[in-house]
């Protein structure tokens, strides 16, 4: 279990991870908002089947 390949933690310090993590989180949240929650009619109509299938509140 001590081998690096099977480790489930990241040894990299938080300071080195933070920028990427925050950027990734904000981009992901922005995308999920656009796909699932935005009231833009174009986005709603394009994402319609995915919204219903994914269980997002729709209509």
């Amino acid at each position: 279990m001590a081998a690096a390949r099977t480790s489930t933690t990241i040894s990299l310090p938080l300071a080195s991870r933070l920028t990427t993590a925050v950027f990734s989180l904000m981009l992901g949240v922005f995308i999920i908002y656009g796909v699932g929650l935005s009231h833009s009619e174009t986005l709603h109509d394009t994402a319609h089947d995915t919204r219903h299938s994914y269980g997002f509140p729709c209509h």
Binding site: A21, S24, V29, E41, T42, H59
Partner: protein
């Protein structure tokens, strides 16, 4: 910026998004199309004649006096399947980025071996928990105010994510209890309810849809979690090992 890590998560998300599309077309999309026949047949007026809605739908399609917004809507011009594929690719990347970000923030590594657990956590947070009180809806089903349901959905996802963190990744007893409280709280509070349950959509379709969407999304998340583990191990391991 850990560019390889970001790219690895996006690749995994796109892969899961591609596979989600045919999975949706097995059951979910046919059920949506079936429900829309009742939606087009005139939503709110309550027909007791089973044959009437379909006939009315055919009529309205031919004459088009009340063209439904979705048929004339300003969706992107790639066709129904193309649009859904595009959205699934984007959505897959979005959920992958959020999952990857969570692991990075928590200092945890998603691997091929534990990827399925990250996927199951994502399914529980984004699909299963919200669906427990706010079942996946078919078009034309009666539903409470959209903004209220979206707010409840969002809060439930956030609380459930917090709950999963406290239960799975913290050792303390108080954390386990707090986790359960966070997960249960939005369901005790209750999702926005609709006043009139009368629906033009047959209940059998609705129940089939609720189950088929959960199964489809479980598939999506298992693929996404596993793909995340694989992609991060193969493309980003050098970055994480510093």
């Amino acid at each position: 910026m850990l560019v390889k890590y970001l790219l690895a998560t996006i690749v995994a998300g796109l892969f899961a998004g591609i596979l989600l599309t045919p999975a949706m077309y097995v059951r979910n999309v046919p059920l949506i199309l079936h429900a829309e026949e009742y939606e087009d047949a005139g939503g709110h007026e309550h027909s007791h004649d089973a044959a009437a809605p379909a006939a009315a739908a055919a009529e309205s399609a031919a004459v088009a006096p009340h063209t439904h917004e979705e048929e004339a809507g300003p969706e992107l011009p790639f066709g129904r399947l193309g649009n859904t594929l595009l959205i699934n690719l984007v959505a897959g990347a979005g959920f992958a980025l959020v999952t990857g970000a969570a692991a990075l923030l928590l200092g945890r590594r998603i691997t091929l071996q534990n990827g399925i657990y990250w996927g199951l956590a994502g399914f529980f947070i984004f699909n299963f928990a919200p669906a427990f009180s706010l079942a996946p809806e078919l078009p034309a089903m009666p539903a409470a105010d959209l903004a209220a349901r979206q707010a409840w959905w969002l809060i439930t996802v956030l609380l459930t994510a917090g709950g999963v963190y406290f239960i799975v990744l913290r050792e303390e007893i108080w954390a386990k209890i707090l986790g359960v409280v966070l997960i249960v709280a939005p369901h005790i509070y209750g999702a926005p309810e609709v006043e009139d349950l009368a629906s033009p959509v047959p209940p059998t379709l609705a129940s089939e849809f609720a189950v088929s969407t959960l199964a489809t999304n479980l598939f999506f998340w298992v693929v996404l979690g596993t793909a995340l583990g694989w992609a991060i191990q193969h493309y980003a391991a050098s970055e994480l090992d510093g």
